[in-house]
């Protein structure tokens, strides 16, 4: 927060806000706030009547200042101690910041669209906090955290960023940006340089044929006057030279094409490898805010855009530049007047290129939309064909498909018109250039009013037509520059992201006994809402601990912290008395066996899925692990047994089978700590029995944590943790908790009651 005192007046310069405070309220705010320190502001985009307008709500320690054109004096002042509560009422497409005074009067203070709604919520939390327990700095910090999270726009230029706190591509220096990619190009500099030399050779070679044409027309053919034989000899030598030039030009160009392609591949592959490697080491909090699909896209297609641009800049641009200069020099040295004439169509060519570029892009975008609508429908209905048939909806689906196809065809026809007119008009314009040259040069030769020869004219026309291509190239360079910047931004977002911290790298205690201790642990994902508060507990080695609680109570977060997926918690988590942050991360995780509710399988053999992360696993080891996990029997029944290839996400196995494979995976690690997150939630009771048996075999002598909804899963547990709203409300042995008649007792009662009901129902059905 920065208050600037200028000429004795306090100016609201840079308080924390979602948008700059509107100019029209700034002076007013300065006067009415009389030097009170503003803490933060919510700037709205609607007035109280719901029309687009500017409005603002500025918060201080004890007062709210609302600015809106609808107020008679353009503002109102509300003391927080006169209020009972405030809240944000979210409506459809807009929201109101409402306050209720102590005498029950309702006030609408600020109206805004959804763009400010989250910040409005945080501001309301602040005010209610002040009402409840007076002002304190934690409240302000909470608001600031929300602002930072929401701050997905660049503070300098206001541009929206791809995700919060990313670097703004508009404001960061371009030099800096490209320097980050330079290190991918530098190792290839030898090859790129070679390519450039080769390009210059082909460019020079391409300049030769028109010159030879000139010799042919001016010297060789007229030399028939000296005798046919001499002329023929000259013709042959000229033609041989021409062939040699062509051979050099095309073979060098083939070589260059080859080197260039494989250099480009190397650049992009290195970039891809780095992004992928980086993505593996990024903390989970990165994936919380970035969709995995967009990460995949960045590895796949954004790198390609960069590659194209790099090659264009380092190769084509250089070559075209030399070509441009070379052509200009040659043309001017041949006939400067004619050269100026031949430049006449250039503005037209460039403008037409731009004009059509602008027209054709939207057409292709429309076309793309239409064709993606078709593929979406395909992806929806072909795999869902069972449902389509079950509801006899074949006709409707077919009609819809043909409608989409017709839509596409209509668009494609429109695009076809533009797409075909455009190149032909361009060629036509270029031809017009030749016509001008012929007209001017031809009349010069006929009247003999210059030293232009016929051969010079012919070769001049060739040079002139070569001239337009590089001109067009440079005219359109800026568009691809824009696309590249967008891709670069997305890639840097990953490359520059902070990886997981491994503070204790190299610190590998001999063997973990498995004593887990939480000391005053508090955690929240984004500081705006606490997920775990004040967790204190000790789990002794060999304990089997059941964690129960309702959905969203914080059970899984507890596990996530033990796994070190999130590091930004307060307090300490200790294993055998050592802070887990001080242990080598790779070693630490390797000591924990983690079985998830929906186990992730990879597209690989069953063997490799069990031996995952253990490249040197012995066949007997894997089979033993499978046996412990009750998986061996079903695997041997598969025709390819341990060599069975699994499809994506484990297609080919049932849910229970996948679960047992993942337990086998945990057995392979021979961990000292085992964690089960709802391992039997999604399977039938017989499979549950098999899995349960496997688990019981596995947990012998190991510290075990189990999250479970079904309390029957926890019958081996010697300790129970009951989590509710992020706090541990009960902790102790099952007998203690039952005797206490608290939450756990209630849960047991409810479940045994429903179990009884189920068995009763079943009994009835059997009768």
């Amino acid at each position: 927060m920065l208050l600037l005192v200028r000429k004795g007046r306090v100016i609201l310069m840079k308080i924390i806000t979602n948008r700059p405070i509107p100019e029209k309220f700034r002076v007013l705010a300065d006067t009415v706030m009389k030097g009170q320190t503003p803490l933060f502001a919510v700037v709205g985009d609607l007035d109280l009547s719901g029309r687009y307008n500017e409005s603002a709500l500025i918060f201080t320690r004890d007062t709210l200042f609302a600015f809106d054109d609808k107020y008679q004096e353009k503002y109102v002042e509300v003391k927080i101690n006169t209020l009972r509560e405030v809240h944000v009422k979210r409506m459809y497409g807009n929201a109101l910041f409402k306050a209720v005074t102590k005498d029950g009067k309702k006030l609408n203070l600020l109206r805004f669209t959804y763009s400010a709604a989250d910040i409005g919520d945080a501001a309301a939390l602040y005010v209610n906090g002040v009402i409840e327990s007076g002002f304190n700095n934690d409240l302000v910090e909470m608001v600031h955290a929300t602002y930072n999270k929401q701050r997905s726009f660049c503070p300098r230029c206001g541009r929206k960023l791809p995700n919060p706190e990313a670097e703004c591509i508009n404001c960061s220096s371009k030099k800096n940006l490209f320097s980050k990619f330079v290190r991918y190009i530098v190792p290839q500099k030898g090859k790129l340089f070679l390519c450039m030399i080769l390009s210059i050779i082909t460019t020079i070679m391409s300049l030769v044929p028109p010159y030879i044409t000139r010799i042919m027309v001016d010297d060789v053919i007229p030399s028939a006057a000296d005798g046919v034989e001499i002329a023929m000899q000259r013709l042959v030598s000229v033609l041989v030279t021409l062939i040699c030039v062509y051979v050099v030009q095309y073979s060098v160009s083939a070589l260059r094409g080859y080197i260039l392609r494989y250099t480009g591949d190397q650049i992009v592959i290195n970039l891809k490898k780095d992004i992928y490697a980086k993505a593996q080491y990024l903390p989970l909090s990165f994936y919380d805010k970035t969709s995995t699909g967009s990460v995949i896209n960045r590895v796949n297609s954004d790198t390609g855009t960069i590659q194209n641009f790099v090659l264009r800049i380092s190769q084509e641009a250089v070559v075209k530049f030399f070509l441009l200069i070379g052509l200009a020099v040659i043309m001017f040295s041949m006939d400067w007047k004619l050269t100026l004439f031949s430049f006449l169509p250039i503005p037209l060519v460039v403008l037409t290129g731009k004009f059509f570029g602008k027209r054709i892009a939207p057409k292709y975008r429309r076309l793309w939309r239409k064709s993606s609508a078709i593929s979406t429908l395909l992806a929806d209905t072909i795999p869902g064909v069972r449902v389509v048939k079950a509801f006899t909806n074949e006709k409707e689906t077919t009609d819809k498909f043909s409608r989409y196809c017709d839509d596409w065809m209509k668009e494609d026809r429109k695009a076809a018109v533009t797409a075909n007119i455009f190149p032909n008009i361009m060629t036509f314009l270029v031809t017009c250039g030749s016509v001008i040259i012929y007209a001017v040069g031809g009349s010069q030769i006929i009247t003999g009013s210059g030293d232009l020869t016929l051969g010079m004219l012919v070769s001049f026309v060739s040079y002139a037509s070569m001239f337009y291509d590089p001109v067009n190239f440079f005219a359109n360079l800026s568009d691809s520059y824009q696309n590249t910047l967008a891709s670069a931004e997305k890639i840097l977002d990953i490359l520059d992201a902070e990886p997981e911290h491994d503070f204790g790298k190299g610190n590998m205690p001999d063997k973990l006994q498995g004593r887990i201790e939480f000391k005053n642990v508090n955690f929240s994902f984004d500081r705006s809402k606490k997920v775990l508060s004040n967790i204190n507990l000790v789990i002794e080695p060999g304990d089997i601990v059941g964690i129960v609680g309702t959905t969203g109570s914080g059970k899984s977060t507890l596990i996530n912290l033990i796994m070190r997926y999130y590091d930004s918690y307060e307090g300490d988590i200790l294993i055998d008395g050592i802070n887990i942050k001080d242990i080598d991360m790779g070693y630490y995780r390797s000591q924990i066996g983690f079985v998830q509710q929906d186990p992730q399988m990879f597209r690989d053999t069953v063997f490799n899925n069990i031996a995952y992360g253990n490249a040197n696993a012995h066949a007997e080891q894997v089979m033993y692990a499978a046996e412990v996990a009750n998986a061996h029997t079903f695997i041997t029944k598969l025709p390819d047994a341990y060599d069975t290839m699994l499809g994506e996400r484990g297609v080919g196995l049932s849910g229970g089978e996948r679960q047992r494979v993942s337990i086998a995976r945990a057995v392979m690690k021979n961990p000292n700590i085992l964690i089960f997150d709802e391992a039997t939630a999604a399977v039938d009771s017989e499979t549950e029995h098999l899995i349960q048996a496997a688990i019981e075999r596995l947990i012998r002598g190991r510290t075990t944590l189990m999250i479970a909804h079904r309390l029957s899963t926890l019958r081996k547990a010697n300790k129970i943790i009951v989590v509710d709203k992020g706090e541990i409300i009960e902790f102790g042995s099952p007998e203690e908790l039952l005797a206490k008649k608290g939450k756990y007792y209630k849960l047991v009662q409810i479940q045994s009651m429903s179990d009884k009901l189920i068995s009763q129902k079943q009994a009835e059905n059997f009768e």
């Binding site: 985009d45 609607l46 719901g50 029309r51 687009y52 307008n53 009422k89 409506m91 459809y92 497409g93 807009n94 109101l96 309702k106 609408n108 669209t113 959804y114 763009s115 709604a117 541009r159 929206k160 591509i169 508009n170 892009a361 939207p362 057409k363 975008r365 429309r366 939309r369 993606s372 824009q482 910047l485 967008a486 931004e489």
Partner: protein, 161 residues
């Protein structure tokens, strides 16, 4: 079965802009019910649910046109206050920078600039010429009839349809 309202059997009074104090013919009264459209896109004037504080519907207005004029206006004003889906009259500017679009449009609630992230999901053309737009912040906009837009605006929006 929800309780459907089909005629002059209820009296509404506006409470705090968007709520309705409701008195039924048989003397039942409810404080501060919130009218909610069940079909905010496809049918603005039918099936208006009246929700209590917990979000349970006390009754559903089947058709707005069956209400007496005065009651209809009362409900309408509460709905107008709650639902904000500005009607776009014309587009003033569309700029694309680094793959994010900023659209400036004149609407029935004034001029506004909003941001579009993903064309494919943000713009939904309906077959009757209506176009629904959802911006990056989940605000909604509507073009009542795309064919009625002026030529310039139409040219701007066409690539997205």
């Amino acid at each position: 079965m929800p309780r459907y309202l089909d005629g002059p059997e209820v009296r509404f009074t506006i409470n705090d802009g968007i709520f309705l104090d409701t008195e039924f013919y048989n003397g039942e009264t409810y404080q501060a019910l919130e009218p909610h459209r069940m079909f905010p896109v496809s049918g603005k004037d039918r099936y208006i649910a009246l929700l209590d504080e917990e979000g349970h519907d006390v009754a559903i207005i089947r058709k707005m046109s069956t209400l007496p004029e005065k009651e209809r206006q009362t409900v309408q004003s509460a709905l107008d206050e709650y639902y904000m889906m500005p009607k776009i009259k014309r587009f003033i500017k569309m700029s694309d920078k680094f793959g994010i679009w900023m659209w400036t449009a004149e609407t029935d609630r004034g001029v506004f600039t909003f941001e579009i992230r993903n064309h494919l999901t943000a713009v939904k053309p309906l077959y009757d010429g209506r176009v629904l737009i959802k911006d990056a912040n989940d605000n909604r906009y509507e073009i009542p009839d795309v064919n009625q837009l002026d030529k310039r605006s139409r040219k701007m929006i066409m690539p997205c349809l």
